[in-house]
Symmetry: none
């Protein structure tokens, strides 16, 4: 799997790494039970600090995306994260509300918006079929 980071970005490296892995899982590029590179391996692969990888892995473990076995290393959790809850949905709403409001102010119609969302959705599923 190919990890792409933007060091100029203002979003923290560990967040970007988490994002890449989550997208990898969602798109099926990372399959349930698949093993990920060790913390050290991943760190040297993409040229970042070991602690940074560790932070990403640990948080993904807490969110149910990964399992960290002391011996067997890091694998994609076949169970996956817990299903969408109402709390999480409310949280997501808080994040999306300003983004949608901004799009609205920029004259994006509802149809354009849903089409746009769908295109992202499809892009993920497309990778999955590969």
């Amino acid at each position: 799997m190919f990890i792409e980071l933007d060091f100029q970005s203002e979003t923290p490296i560990y967040e970007q790494l988490k994002t890449e892995i989550i997208v990898g899982i969602a798109s099926g590029q990372l399959t349930p039970g698949e093993r990920l590179p060790s913390v050290r391996q991943m760190a040297s692969d993409i040229g970042i600090n070991l602690h940074t990888v560790n932070k990403a892995y640990t948080q993904l473990k807490e969110e149910g995306y990964l399992l960290i076995h002391r011996q067997r290393g890091v694998v994609v959790n076949p169970e996956g994260p817990e299903a969408m809850t109402k709390e999480r949905q409310a949280q997501l709403r808080q994040i999306l509300r300003p983004l949608i409001a901004d799009s609205l102010c920029r004259q994006m119609t509802e149809k354009e918006l849903t089409t746009f969302i769908q295109s992202i959705y499809d892009e993920l599923k497309e990778d999955r079929s590969k």
Copy 2:
């Protein structure tokens, strides 16, 4: 207009304030040409520092949401921000991709997702009709 901030949140206060104002404009609670409280007024209203308000106002001015008349205060720009560009859309895609990926992993279907988006959209438009 009612401004609601979460001081415990890790998102900066000035960002939250920007969000509140953008949502206010999108939902029509703030109308084109309407005057906003002065930086000092707003700051004391919501109990934060005037510089924090100033930062939010200044950035919203740069984004085309507000006009800042030298001594006459701050008003909602009737022109509004520039229309959605391709670059901005690409940027939005970067933000939405991980959110959608996460929702996908949590077994949210595409239909649930679009319904969800629509409900946020409607919520904004609803306020507008008031």
Copy 3:
């Protein structure tokens, strides 16, 4: 003569007014000895504060552009301002240096620059011939 002000601009109104008058003189739209509207007249004409007009007029008088007679009102000084001095030229250099540096960084060539300057020069002289 037509005065055009931008109330959104961050350059002070009185500066803009001064600029308009200087350009008017340079372009010959205002001729030596010509009478300008009184402070009160000008203020009401363009809808700004009386003090603002006064500030512009006073400074232009100090710079040699205008004469202010108590009875006869405000007229364009036939003598004009003092000729360009070395000090003033040094000052002008300080203002132009960053502008030219910026243009350079934005890949404007020297030829483009001088052509550009010339076009502004010609625009002024053109008005003069009217």
Copy 4:
């Protein structure tokens, strides 16, 4: 690189600092990719507050002159700012028009003017060859 500020000047310190850096880049004293002092370092070097430096750096980042690596500090953007656009050129015209008008009124000829501009241009390029 040597930064020279005039604390008596009415132009804001952060503007002067921006100017110095832009001129430094244009003249080649600051090379693409070169690292600038940290905000704290620069601030103590020239005896001003770190927030003032930060404002200058941030604005230069937004204009494409600098890159700000999260924790690795500030470097000169090898890409540089976006090329001169028509809008920016129109803006520049607005700034130059009164300056040229003033010079005209002070009996500066077109030839003197272009020679003058060229001398500034050459001064910048001269530093570049060092």
